[in-house]
């Protein structure tokens, strides 16, 4: 497909007017099929995209097969221990070489003609080889390997051989938050078995916005708040919290917990029995990191948006949420839980239980998020109201969590990439302050 400007100059989708403290997004961004197709080429074909967590391929030969940026890929750990990401497509005629979602194998065999590839991606078997001439070399037909890298256990891939940034450069200020996640265990974090695979009939960007929107919490999630209060959750011991733009489209909210955290923040809802264990863990974090950083790791909630389609929410449990567009009006959502590998079994049970209370397609909160983004998508069918407003907090030096700075950071990068601009690292945009600097 061609990459042409698809709208006339002077008719922008993102209207960013700092003079008037106004930030608006044309609702065609959520409904227009041409824009959705353009996102594929300008964003998903170019950015670093989250594939999975290293713990999902724990040993040599273990693999997962999933779609990333609309493309079927396999992430496999070779017999050399190296994690590679391949195109899940036979180099002969194109069939999927791996149709199991996860497993352990020495090789991948294409079911069409039995071409066989090693776990490292090398072509090792071709039946009836005398059908090829002397110029045929197996080395030319290994699985297509994508450029991949990992940061603190999070594996990303880019389909753009010319992507100018290393993964660490691309993650910009978001590395600080991945550090705060991965520092939660000395032996490493792991994805808990059991993925919540669901979706929504709405544009994928609505769920990205929703995931960094704290403003809706008390309105939309009354039933969850009521349940937590019935369990004896206590008001935060600190007030405040702030939203941040982390550069290159990434953003975060950081706020004091309104409920317990299984890592090392006890409140009565966890029960008296585990209190000594949780407080001992908290003390160990103070020894390891000092009081200030320990408090940030153990006693602070955060929601981190990594552009374009990864959310990590670290609150009453940690969820990794990968949100994939399926055309303009539908998305696929994959959510998993992340936890310390060496977690106490009782505390692991608490983590899982409270994860389910809030999160996932049958939690006490996520279904309402799904319903509301689907409701927005339906509301856009009435095209009379042209713009959505995302200006909250533009009037403040330090935007609060109930403001919309992380979403604006997302949209500004979206707009740059859709125009073919590579984006730039300056976080402060047209005078808008970065939360951390002002903190």
């Amino acid at each position: 497909m061609t990459i042409e400007p698809q709208r006339p100059v002077g008719d922008p989708i993102v209207v960013d007017d700092f003079e008037r403290l106004s930030f608006r997004v044309d609702r065609r961004a959520y409904t227009d099929d041409d824009l959705a197709a353009r996102e594929t080429t300008m964003i998903f074909d170019r950015c670093w995209l989250y594939v999975g967590h290293e713990s999902e391929v724990p040993g040599p030969g273990s693999y997962v097969a999933r779609d990333v940026g609309g493309r079927p890929v396999v992430m496999a750990r070779g017999s050399d221990g190296v994690i590679r990401v391949f195109a899940n497509s036979c180099t002969h005629r194109g069939a999927l070489i791996c149709s199991q979602p996860a497993g352990r194998a020495r090789s991948f065999r294409c079911p069409y003609h039995d071409w066989t590839f090693s776990i490292q991606g090398d072509l090792v078997g071709v039946p009836i080889p005398d059908g090829y001439g002397p110029g045929f070399r197996k080395a030319d037909f290994g699985l297509a390997r994508h450029r991949s890298d990992s940061y603190r256990g999070f594996v990303f891939v880019t389909f753009d051989p010319e992507q100018p940034r290393t993964l660490t450069e691309y993650l910009a200020g978001a590395t600080e938050y991945l550090d705060l996640i991965d520092d939660q265990s000395e032996v490493g974090m792991e994805v808990i078995q059991g993925a919540q695979l669901h979706g929504a009939r709405a544009n994928w960007k609505l769920m990205m916005e929703n995931s960094v929107d704290i403003y809706h919490f008390r309105a939309l999630h009354k039933r969850y708040v009521g349940y937590m209060e019935s369990l004896g959750s206590v008001p935060p011991r600190r007030r405040g919290g702030f939203g941040r733009a982390l550069g290159l489209g990434h953003g975060a909210n950081e706020l004091p917990p309104a409920a317990a955290r299984p890592l090392a923040y006890w409140t009565p809802m966890f029960g008296a029995e585990v209190r000594p264990r949780i407080e001992a863990t908290a003390a160990r974090f103070v020894d390891r990191f000092g009081a200030e950083r320990a408090e940030r790791i153990t006693g602070t909630n955060r929601a981190v948006l990594i552009f374009p389609n990864l959310m990590i929410i670290d609150a009453i449990a940690i969820t990794i949420r990968k949100i994939d567009p399926v055309g303009a009006g539908q998305m696929a959502i994959t959510s998993v839980a992340l936890a310390p590998k060496d977690e106490d079994p009782d505390i692991r049970e608490l983590r899982k239980s409270h994860y389910l209370t809030f999160l996932g397609p049958a939690g006490f909160a996520t279904p309402d998020d799904i319903e509301i983004v689907e409701s927005c998508q339906r509301g856009y069918l009435n095209r009379t109201v042209r713009y959505s407003d995302l200006s909250r907090g533009m009037n403040k030096e330090v935007p609060e969590t109930t403001d919309e700075l992380p979403a604006r950071e997302f949209w500004r990068q979206w707009d740059r990439l859709m125009h073919g601009d590579d984006g730039h690292l300056e976080v402060a945009h047209r005078g808008e302050m970065q939360g951390a600097e002002a903190r």
Partner: protein, 170 residues
């Protein structure tokens, strides 16, 4: 000419009939949104209601699922549904549960392990969805009737991509 049932067979048919009637009544109460009655009259006080993740297939203790309610959280789920607090169930969806393949797997006198298949159709908010699954019940015998102590619905779907959410009790 008919062949008479043996005494054992007749007892089995009676038990199967009672179990089936119990499960049909459960389905009816859920379809009619008589959730408090269902909770009060048909479940034990230590009920556990689970729906495992669709990529796990079956019960795995270590895995995260979709639902794993104890009595307190199930009660909360019911109150939220009835009070209109669940956005996506207000107005209430219409459901129709088809229970079939009811099979008593083990009869331990005071407890029964029962398997059944279920299709739950849900209509509402412009959507029509079908949830297809295999149920396992642990029933505690209480006089001529039962109470459910363990209720597991293993969905056969690969994902809930089409459904988006699971806001009803299966």
């Amino acid at each position: 000419m008919t062949t008479e049932l043996t005494v054992d067979e007749a007892a089995q048919v009676r038990l199967w009939h009672r179990v089936s009637q119990f499960l049909f009544r459960e389905a009816r109460l859920l379809d009619e949104w008589r959730l408090r009655e269902w909770y009060d009259e048909m479940l034990t006080h230590d009920i556990r209601y689970s729906v495992p993740a669709t990529d796990v297939r079956g019960e795995t203790a270590d895995a995260l699922g979709l639902i794993d309610d104890d009595a307190a959280r199930l009660r909360q789920r019911i109150e939220q549904l009835l009070n209109g607090e669940v956005w996506c169930e207000n107005p209430r969806s219409r459901t129709n549960r088809m229970i079939s393949n009811v099979e008593i797997l083990t009869d331990r006198g005071t407890h029964l392990d029962v398997a059944a298949n279920v299709i739950v159709y849900r209509f509402g908010h412009g959507r029509s969805d079908a949830y297809v699954g295999k149920c396992r019940f642990e029933l505690v015998v209480e006089g001529e009737s039962f109470r459910v102590r363990r209720r597991v619905v293993v969905l056969d779907h690969e994902t809930l991509y089409e459904h988006a959410k699971l806001s009803i009790i299966l």
